[in-house]
């Protein structure tokens, strides 16, 4: 294979020596033939004396005739040269390499729906990707994939630019946040073992810190072996950025909930944030019900980067659907709408087993008509065993029946003895709440930081149990969740602490009852698009019907006592008999400020190389086409007798 380093070309067909030899011989033969006296075309005439040789031909005309012949020679030489060029089949050295393996990863997350680019950011990303795949070298292969919360391969590894362009055009926007880590993991997996792997990320660069961290781990990980976890360490990772400006006000949160202290009352709160670089005033409207009756309308002034919270204090209609929207347009309409449902009122059936406890009774009384409490003496605990599963929650106050129940919902206060679900390992003196899991439903809106406890039992947790709050490793509040079983336990007697004297106690009881009874299932908070929501299913159900905001229906399997429903778009989902609001608001996705530099791990991603320019068509093809055109020209000039 001959190579012309100066031109960056390599010959795939004839060798350089053979091409030069044939060229010299061809030019010599062509020139020789043209120098020979051409054999004239014989024309039979009736009377030759009428024809005079060179009749009236001027000197200039004679020269023009000679010139035309030389022009014909030049045309023939050009055609010969082009055919020789096609036979040599020169390719660019860049394209002549073993061929690069591209993965073009197109971000289709919510922020890519921003309209600061012509069309949308996704439209600009598609254009960049199209230019990329149409400019690949002849030996290059590419795979087009898109990602948001998950990854979709839009094509296999292809060399056909048209198929790749069709795959790029097939990418559609979605409302989910981008999971860069998952996308890069996919890219690393498909690029493993491919020659000259190159990853081109076409995105606005808006990713969460977690996603960046996961991505950075992939880039920093040691090169992948045959069986190792995929890595991008040896992959040439490029970034084609899109996005021009930041002009967006987003509804970051919208929820309605009942007051724990007064479950008969509900309120709604909406969080608005200005991601733009300029102050703005937005108009927020909140409507309710299927008829979208307007229930609130406010103007909110926002400084750059400011976040404001607006509360609608009394939302009386239980089960109502609420929709909030911003009237002013911005670059990302997706987060200008938010949805919420007003939780319904449920009347819990509670069995309290234990000695009289004014503190506990007081907390239960605070639930008002949302709870129906039945009581039983400790010695009658076994007589009530058969009815435990018929109650929403059974409270064992200082009682631990043996054997411990395997199904049902139970709240243990200071469990002791062999019946305790969390066996005691001794007494803990003067414990404090040193560690709390704030995200757990038991601790919602609770602050236990300065609670004083005289003593507590050292509870032993099994695998899968959760220490919701603990004192330096000793669980003070424990939770257990098994199929058909939910148990919460306080490791101490509330009467030997100042907890009942605090407002936190009735809240803790309400949270515990709500979590145990699964009332959260009926009062699910708004879900985020891109997440998977666990929706409790009716007992015995194996599938639930799911209707998404577009009205599309699907049947979803029940795993355990709940269905895991992926949330794809904002709006109201109906899962079984549960209404679930879903919002696209995401602080990362809504921040549309352009990202100038994308650094992952220790690498700052550079833009992709410009297209090779000659497209995917080999030079030989163009040479043949030009030769054909010259032959046509030669034929025309000969036929019209311009050159003969």
């Amino acid at each position: 294979m001959g190579i012309f380093p100066a031109w960056g070309l390599a010959l795939e067909g004839l060798s350089a020596g053979a091409a030069v030899g044939i060229a010299l011989a061809g030019v010599a033969i062509l020139t020789g033939l043209y120098l020979l006296k051409p054999r004239r075309r014989r024309v039979v005439v009736a009377f030759a004396p009428l024809w005079l040789p060179g009749a009236g031909e001027r000197r200039s005309e004679r020269w023009a005739r000679h010139l035309r012949r030389w022009l014909s020679l030049a045309l023939q030489a050009a055609v010969f040269g082009l055919l020789l060029l096609a036979a040599a089949d020169p390719r660019s050295r860049a394209a002549d390499r073993a061929g690069r393996s591209f993965v073009v990863l197109i971000d289709r997350s919510a922020s890519m729906s921003a309209t600061d680019e012509p069309g949308t950011r996704l439209g600009a990303a598609r254009a960049r990707a199209r230019a990329l795949v149409s400019g690949l070298g002849p030996a290059d292969r590419a795979l087009v994939a898109s990602f948001a919360a998950d990854v979709s391969a839009e094509s296999g590894f292809e060399t056909d630019a048209r198929r790749l362009e069709r795959a790029v055009d097939a990418v559609r926007p979605c409302e989910e946040p981008a999971d860069l880590g998952r996308a890069l993991f996919f890219a690393a997996a498909v690029l493993r073992g491919q020659p000259h792997p190159t990853l081109v990320l076409v995105s606005d660069g808006r990713f969460s810190d977690d996603a960046r961290a996961n991505a950075a781990a992939l880039l920093d990980r040691a090169p992948a072996g045959a069986s190792a976890t995929p890595s991008l360490a040896d992959v040439d990772v490029r970034w084609a950025p899109v996005g021009r400006r930041a002009r967006n006000v987003a509804l970051l949160a919208f929820a309605a909930r009942r007051l724990p202290a007064d479950p008969t009352s509900a309120y709604a709160a909406v969080t608005v944030r200005n991601f733009g670089a300029a102050a703005t005033t937005v108009t927020l409207e909140i409507s309710a019900g299927a008829a979208s009756a307007l229930v609130d309308r406010v103007h909110i002034a926002l400084a750059p980067g400011e976040t404001r919270r607006h509360v609608l204090p009394d939302v009386s209609a239980p089960g109502a659907r609420l929709a909030a929207r911003l009237l002013e347009g911005d670059d990302l309409p997706l987060d200008d709408r938010a949805y919420a449902t007003v939780p319904g009122v449920e009347r819990l059936r509670i069995l309290r087993v234990g000695a009289p406890n004014l503190f506990l009774d007081g907390a239960l009384l605070s639930l008002g008509e949302t709870a129906a409490v039945h009581g039983a003496r400790p010695e009658a605990v076994e007589s009530t065993r058969a009815r435990w599963t018929s109650y929403d929650v059974v409270i064992f106050d200082g009682v631990a029946p043996v054997p411990a129940p395997k199904t049902g919902h139970f709240l243990y206060l200071a469990p002791r003895g062999p019946g305790s679900p969390f066996p005691g390992r001794g007494v803990l003196r003067d414990p404090v709440f040193s560690d709390t899991r704030h995200g757990h439903p038991l601790l919602r809106q609770l602050d236990l930081g300065d609670v004083n406890i005289a003593e507590a039992e050292r509870l032993t947790l099994e695998a899968g149990d959760v220490a919701v709050a603990s004192s330096f490793g000793a669980p003070l509040i424990a939770a257990r969740e098994r199929p058909g079983l939910r148990v919460a336990a306080l490791a101490f007697d509330v009467r030997r602490s100042d907890l009942p004297m605090r407002a936190a106690f009735p809240l803790l009881v309400a949270n515990a009852l709500g979590w145990l009874a699964g009332s959260n299932a009926r009062e699910l908070p708004p879900a985020l698009v891109g997440s998977v929501v666990r929706v409790p299913a009716p007992r015995g159900a194996t599938r639930v019907d799911v209707r998404d905001p577009t009205g599309a229906r699907a049947s979803w399997p029940v795993t355990g006592d709940a269905a895991l429903v992926p949330i794809r778009r904002a709006g109201f989902y109906r899962v079984g008999d549960v209404t679930l609001a879903a919002n696209a608001a995401d602080v990362v996705e809504s921040d549309t400020a352009p990202v100038r530099t994308l650094a992952l791990g220790g690498r700052t991603l550079s833009p992709p190389d410009p297209p090779l320019g000659h497209g995917r068509r080999p030079l030989a093809t163009w040479a043949l086409l030009v030769a054909a055109a010259l032959l046509l020209l030669e034929w025309v000039t000969t036929h019209r007798r311009w050159t003969v």
Binding site: P38, R40, R41, R42, V43, V44, V45, A46, F47, A48, P49, L50, W51, L52, P53, G54, A55, G56, E57, R58, E61, R65, R640, R641, V644
Partner: protein, 313 residues
């Protein structure tokens, strides 16, 4: 004209005859029959050959007087003039005689060129003239010429001979060189003992030695000469460009020519000069001359000849 009108006339000489194929197809015969009708109207009432000769003979129409010479028939002595003028004058009368028509058709190789070949039109014109002559009971002979006198068809009268004429002309092939003067000398030698008449020479007149001598010879031989020059359109305006070798079909001479627009104009000028030269030469010598193109219809040419007058009455 419908098909019935174009068919050979019932009772005509062509009806039921086997027409030669080639140059003289059914269409030619139909048009020839039509031509006969037209020419018959032009010589209405002439049931026999009645061309008046300039010879003084036993006619009935007075022509002139001349002095008596010894040996003259005393019956034609004009006694009335002798009584008035005392001079012996004899009365001269125009003698009616039939016309001898000789159709000379050039069959040299150059006549085979053209599309259609010039010889085709020449043969068709010759056949048409012969047919009209035969129909008028003239004596018609047909002879081919090239560099000498070729085959000939002996003189004949009457329309019944037309098929012989057609077969003769259909068999004519274009070959050989052109030497009109040699052919004219042969012709005169062959007709030394015959009466002089009309000679129709149909040729392209591409004679390296020129046509003048031939025409002069015929004229000096006291023949009434009609020259019909047949040219091909591509000879008048050839569509040639570039470097070519022109090959003379008769002489075999080959010469390299670069045909440019200028050279083409020069050729056309020379060709036009040849045509005009023949026309001028004939005009000066009271020779009827016609120039036709090989793609013209033969009947149109014949009618043109008739309209020019003087050929047949």
């Amino acid at each position: 004209m419908n098909a019935a009108a174009r068919a050979p006339a019932p009772g005509g000489p062509l009806e039921g005859r086997t027409a030669p194929r080639g140059r003289f197809d059914e269409t030619f015969l139909r048009r020839l029959e039509t031509l006969r009708v037209v020419t018959k109207r032009a010589s209405l009432g002439q049931l026999r050959a009645d061309r008046r000769s300039r010879r003084v003979g036993a006619g009935i129409e007075f022509a002139d007087h001349r002095d008596y010479a010894a040996g003259d028939d005393l019956r034609i002595l004009d006694w009335n003039l002798y009584g008035r003028m005392e001079r012996l004058l004899v009365r001269l009368f125009e003698e009616d005689e039939d016309l001898a028509i000789d159709v000379l058709i050039d069959t040299s190789a150059s006549m085979g060129l053209g599309a259609p070949p010039k010889l085709d039109l020449a043969a068709q014109i010759g056949a048409a003239l012969a047919y009209v002559g035969l129909a008028n009971l003239d004596s018609v002979a047909v002879t081919t010429v090239s560099d000498a006198l070729g085959e000939d068809l002996p003189p004949a009268r009457g329309k019944g001979h037309i098929l012989r004429v057609l077969r003769f002309l259909d068999a004519a092939r274009a070959e050989g060189r052109t030497s009109l003067a040699a052919a004219a000398r042969d012709f005169l030698g062959r007709h030394r003992r015959h009466r002089r008449g009309l000679v129709v020479l149909i040729s392209d007149f591409y004679d390296p030695a020129g046509y003048r001598e031939a025409l002069e010879l015929l004229r000096y031989g006291r023949f009434e000469v009609v020259a019909i020059q047949v040219s091909a359109p591509e000879e008048a305006r050839p569509a040639l460009r570039g470097d070519v070798a022109v090959y003379d079909v008769e002489t075999g001479e080959e010469r390299d020519v670069t045909i440019s627009a200028r050279a083409l104009a020069e050729y056309e000028r020379r060709h036009a000069a040849l045509v005009r030269g023949l026309d001028g030469f004939c005009r000066e010598r009271a020779i009827l001359c016609f120039t036709v193109m090989s793609d013209e219809a033969f009947d149109a040419v014949v009618l043109r000849v008739f309209r020019a007058g003087g050929l047949l009455r």
